[in-house]
Structure formats: C-alpha cells, structure tokens
C-alpha cells in the first residue's frame, strides 16, 4: 500500500456526512477488514458495552423464564386480564413485536427492488432484527392461551376428532401469516449471508472458526456462476417477501378489525397497522444501529446519510399513522354510531386510560414532527431519543386499541378495568431481553453489515469517480 492510502484509511473512520453512504478512501479490503473485524477480533477485544448490554439482556431472559414457569403452573390468571378485558399485555406485545419485525423485510426487499443503495449497510442488521422480533412475537399467542399445551389445535392436521380449525377466525389467519413471514425472512436473511460467510471462512484465523463458517457457507466459491445464480435467487426472494410486508400486519390488524367491538371494528386498520409497523420497525433499527455504530466505530459504513434516510422514513410513516388516528376518530363521529362515538369519547377523556391516549399522540405524532428539521435529523442523540419515544408510542397505541376498547363495550353493567400485574411486566421485559440477547450474539458472531454489498458500493463509487476525472 502507498502511504497516502494508509492515512486515508485512518481518516476513513470519521463520519463522511449526510451525502455519502460510505466513508472516503475505502477499498474492497478496508471494507472487508472493518466489517469482519467486528466478528473476528479476539473475544476480549469485544467492546465492554457489549458485555454489559448482554449481561442485562440475559438477566431479563431469566426473568422471562420465571414469569413463564409461573404462568404455566398457575394459569393466565396471574396476569391482569379479566372480564371484560380478556386480552391484555400479551396481545399488546404480540402486535408490537410483529410491527417491529417489519423494517427488516421492508429494507431488504422493497428498498432492494427500488434500488435504494443506502440500504446496503443496514439491511442485514434489520433482517436479523426482524427475525428476533418475530421470534419474540411468536411466543405470545401461545403463552396467552388458557391451555397452551393444546396450541397445536390451531394447526390443520389430520386428527382422531375429525375436526379442523375454524377458518373464519382471524387468529387462524395469523397462524399462517406469521409463520410464513418468519420462514421467508429466515431464508432471505440466510441467503444474504452466504457470500459473507464464505468471506469469513477465508479470513478466519483459527481452524474451528473456519470450519464453522465453512459449513455455513455451503461451499460458496464466489465463481461467476455462483454469483449469477445468487443474484437471481436473491431478487426472487425479495419479490416473494415484498407482499408479505403488507400481508402480515394487515392480517394482524384483522384480529381487531373483524371483531365488532367499538374501537376495533375499523376498516382503516390494515393500512394504518402496516404503516405503524414500518414506523416502529425503523425506530427500532435506529435504536439499535446508533449505539452499535458507536461501539464498533462503524460511522463510515453506517453514515449520517443512513440515519437521515431512516429518519425521513419514520417521519413519512409517522404521518400515515397520524392520518390513521384522525380517520378513526373522524369515522367514529361521522358514522353517528352511538357505541363508536362513546368508544372514542372514552378513549380520549372519559375513561380511566385517557392519559395513555394523549401520551401516545405525543410520542407518535407530536414529537416526531421535530424530524422535519434537518438539524434534528443530523443530531445523533436527538434521532436516538425520538426513535426510543416512537417505540414507546407504538406500544401505547396497541395498549389503547386493545385494552381501552375492551374496558367499555356495549352493556354498561359489564364494564370493567384492567391492571397489569408484575407478571405482565416480567413477560414483556423478558421478551425484550430475549430480543437483545439474540441481537448481541448476532452482532458478535456474524457480519452485521453485508460485506459483499458494501464492496459493490465501493465499486460504484470508484466508477463514478473515474467518470469525474475524465
């Protein structure tokens, strides 16, 4: 290497600013080194934050274990659910996690098809997040059953009772929607990994590591033929998973839209659930990307450009969600339906949970408007905080929909209230622990940024620079 290259790689760790999706002076080698370095560095060279973070997450996982054991020993009564509020945290969390799981596929699939090259450095990361979020979401439908040991009755299989699931129930649609989504996401994610696994195999120092990556790489040699087929396959998968982004959360929203309960029975739910999902998904990506970027000094790969783009997506989807809220309220008033109207009066000021509604508006609509300002978008702390707030807001949105609507339905005599118990909270925090654990392991164990796609980026930049010179 020539000395000036040498120093250019030194400056490369500085943030190139919002117009670039990769720092200057990167060549194939530096990109590869920087990304694989995260994984291949010796164990003790792992940033201390990772250890601390993992420790906390792991404690939460154990909390979940305790909570679930207790739940199975005694029954769902350990939660705050009651009559009339028969669904509580479990369903709220389920919808929240599924929502978070949306960013991944959206970034990888749709942005890929839209040729948004800025996605490359975050897609791998987002996909992993998707998988883990869906895993967390997947727990709740089983946990919240009165008789979880019979959960398999929701699957259609030949049985001695000559009975099938009841196909009109949205819960059955959920089973299929979510499991399909999970499967496709896994395949998509792993396919994306293959070339990088090969790279890791080749770069890895000791034999065991190489063997492990070797097996996972499924004998990838990077031949032209491999690449040609690979590109096809990857594109096909992208196409396949695109409709899923829409379908999954639409189906989840049917759980509510199909029911007659005022506050659930709303036709606008599918689009605004999807928007909300993407909204929360991006918020979560930011929440995770910002610290990791900092800890591993990836500022030149996850640049301000990325942060800003994601902020913009958040702003956009946030506005769709706002429209959703407005429409809900408007239709409730415009329909003239007595029960619908009351549901919103109750949701906004009469009921005991009015404050959750206004906090939700604050988190999901008011505060994110700051993102209009470029200065806010350019400020890492600001974006991070806003992302966190949106996460909270989206959780509250589900709480308001699920719980507040149930507390006040049709016949006043049966109205009730809902208080989450310590076990509700433990289960919720526990799944966050699971999520973070998996996330930390992923970052440490697999290339969190797509190496080969970053190489492509480098390649493109090089070409455009040539164009300049001539």
């Amino acid at each position: 290497m020539k000395p000036e290259d040498q120093e250019s790689t030194n400056v490369a760790t500085l943030d190139p600013g919002p117009d670039k999706i990769i720092g200057p002076g990167h060549d194939y080698g530096t990109v590869t080194d920087e990304i694989s370095g995260v994984v291949l560095r010796p164990f003790l060279k792992t940033p201390p934050q990772m250890f601390i973070g993992f420790a906390i997450a792991f404690i939460l996982v154990n909390l979940l274990m305790v909570a679930v054991t207790w739940l199975f020993v005694r029954g769902v009564g350990v939660w705050g659910i009651t009559m009339p509020v028969a669904w509580g945290f479990a369903i709220v969390n389920f919808v929240w996690w599924i929502g978070i799981g949306h960013a991944g596929t959206l970034i990888s699939a749709i942005l890929l098809l839209l040729k948004q090259d800025w996605r490359t450095s975050i897609n791998r990361f987002a996909e992993a997040m998707t998988l883990f979020a869906v895993a967390c979401a997947g727990m709740f439908p089983v946990l919240h059953l009165g008789r979880p040991w019979l959960a398999y009755w929701l699957l259609p299989y030949p049985n001695t009772m000559w009975l099938w699931p009841q196909p009109r129930s949205p819960l059955i649609w959920d089973v299929f929607a979510v499991s399909t989504y999970a499967t496709v996401s896994i395949i998509f994610w792993f396919t994306g990994l293959i070339p990088d696994l090969a790279t890791m195999r080749d770069k890895a120092g000791n034999a065991t590591t190489r063997k492990i990556f070797g097996v996972l790489a499924l004998g990838w040699r990077g031949s032209a033929k491999h690449w040609a087929r690979y590109q096809k396959a990857y594109l096909l998968l992208a196409g396949l998973s695109t409709p899923l982004v829409i379908s999954v959360h639409s189906v989840v929203s049917f759980d509510f839209a199909v029911a007659i309960l005022p506050g659930w029975h709303t036709t606008i739910f599918p689009p605004y659930f999807v928007a909300g999902a993407i909204y929360s998904g991006f918020a979560m990506v930011l929440t995770l990307a910002i610290p990791v970027r900092r800890w591993y000094h990836l500022e030149d790969l996850i640049t301000m450009r990325h942060i800003e783009c994601m902020s913009k997506v958040m702003l956009g989807t946030g506005l769709i969600v706002a429209y959703g809220y407005a429409m809900e309220a408007f239709m409730a008033w415009y329909s003239g339906g007595q029960f619908e109207r009351y549901a919103f009066v109750n949701r906004m000021w009469e009921g005991g949970y009015w404050w959750t509604y206004w906090i939700l508006i604050l988190c999901n609509i008011a505060i994110p408007q700051l993102l209009w300002s470029r200065r806010v978008r350019m400020s890492i702390p600001a974006v991070f905080v806003i992302a966190l707030i949106v996460n909270v807001g989206m959780w509250l949105e589900r709480f308001v929909i699920v719980v507040t609507s149930l507390t006040r339905d049709f016949v006043p005599s049966s109205w009730g209230t809902y208080y989450p118990t310590i076990w509700d909270w433990s289960t919720y925090l526990g799944t966050i622990g699971v999520f973070l654990c998996l996330m930390f392991l992923f970052i440490r164990g697999l290339p969190a940024i797509s190496i080969f796609e970053m190489r492509e980026v480098v390649h493109h930049n090089a070409e455009s620079e040539h164009a300049h010179r001539d």
Binding site: T160, M161, W162, L163, R201, R210, G214, L218, G219
Partner: protein, 217 residues
Amino acid sequence: MAQLFPRSSNSLAKIIIAAVVLTGGGVLWAAYTLNAGSFTTGVDVAVDQSIPFSHKHHVADDGIDCRYCHTSVETSSFAGLPPTETCMSCHSQIWANAPMLEPVRESFRSGKSLEWVRVHDLPDFVYFNHSIHVNKGIGCSTCHGRVYTMPLTYKTNTLYMRWCVECHRNPEKHVRPRDQVFNPTYETPAPNQSEIGPRLVAQYKIQSLTDCVTCHR
C-alpha cells in the same frame, strides 16, 4: 491456501440433506402408526378383571341375553352392570363352590361390591346414552363387536371421536331392525344394508346428530 474440506464433503452434504428428509418423514410415520396401534387405542387388548368373566361362555354357550345382566340398557344412559345378586341367582346352584367364583360369594356374604375394570371408557366430558342408541336400532355388536367370542372382554373399536362421528353422519350404514338389536351375532353392515338402512332411518326417525352438545356439555 489448503482446502478447508475434503472432496468427500460434497457427497456428505447431499447425504445429510437426504437423511434429514427421510428421518423427518420416518418420525412422522412412526408417530402415526404408534398412535393408531392398539398400544394407545387399547383395541383388541383383553383387560384383566378380578374375576376372569367370559362373555363367550355366558352368551355363546349359555345363550344368556345381554339384558339379563345389563338391565338398564334400554332405559338409562348407563347399560348397567349386574349386582352380585344376579350372579348368585345362578351361581348359588351351579359352580356353587368353584374357587374361581369365590370373590362373588365373598361379595355376596360381605355385602362388599365386586370391582370391574371399565373396558369401554369414554372421557368424562363425553355424555353417551345407551338407551337412545338401542331404541333407534343401533345394536350392541355395532360398537362392542362380537362379544360372544370373547373369553375376556376387550374393545373392538377405538371409541375415538372420529369413529363416533362417522356413524352419526351416516347412521343408515349401521342401523339394524329393532328386533335384531340384541342379537349378538348380527353383523352390520348387513348384506342388504343399502336397502334397509335408509328405510329404517326414516322409520325410526333417526336424526344424524352432529351437534357438539349431542355428546359434550
């Protein structure tokens, strides 16, 4: 740099893929057969009783009618098991001191009931009523099989819901003339089942009851 894996790993990979598929299928198949087998269903497994009571002897050899012992089969949900008295009505004369029958005599003396193991045991959430089936022309042997051939009693049907529903959906396949209900040797479907079946269904006003609450409540 040296090859990480030997050439053989190519074929190894293929073998592993095949193996995974095969074992998966194998496990499913095994589970299914095990579930259908008499180990789980208890079909054709003679049940040990405190007294080795032989329906073969009492029905086939002695020609005793079902109702002589199962008295309430026509009137009650429960077919009824004979009180010790009924046994003693004969066995005070014949086999009056056969050691095998000592428990019966003991029960009669002490007034302590005999205990029999249930052979046809439905789950507690299933409410089966003998009397209505018998009255609508469903014979004993339709469900209980050729009891007159059984030295020790065993079930000949799984009593799975699928099995019940099959008949509840197509009663004409199993109905028989009322006068044949207690005929232990009568076989359904009868040779002319397709002819008598629908006729009897109409005549006996048999509804094919497939509502859940017919049996579960």
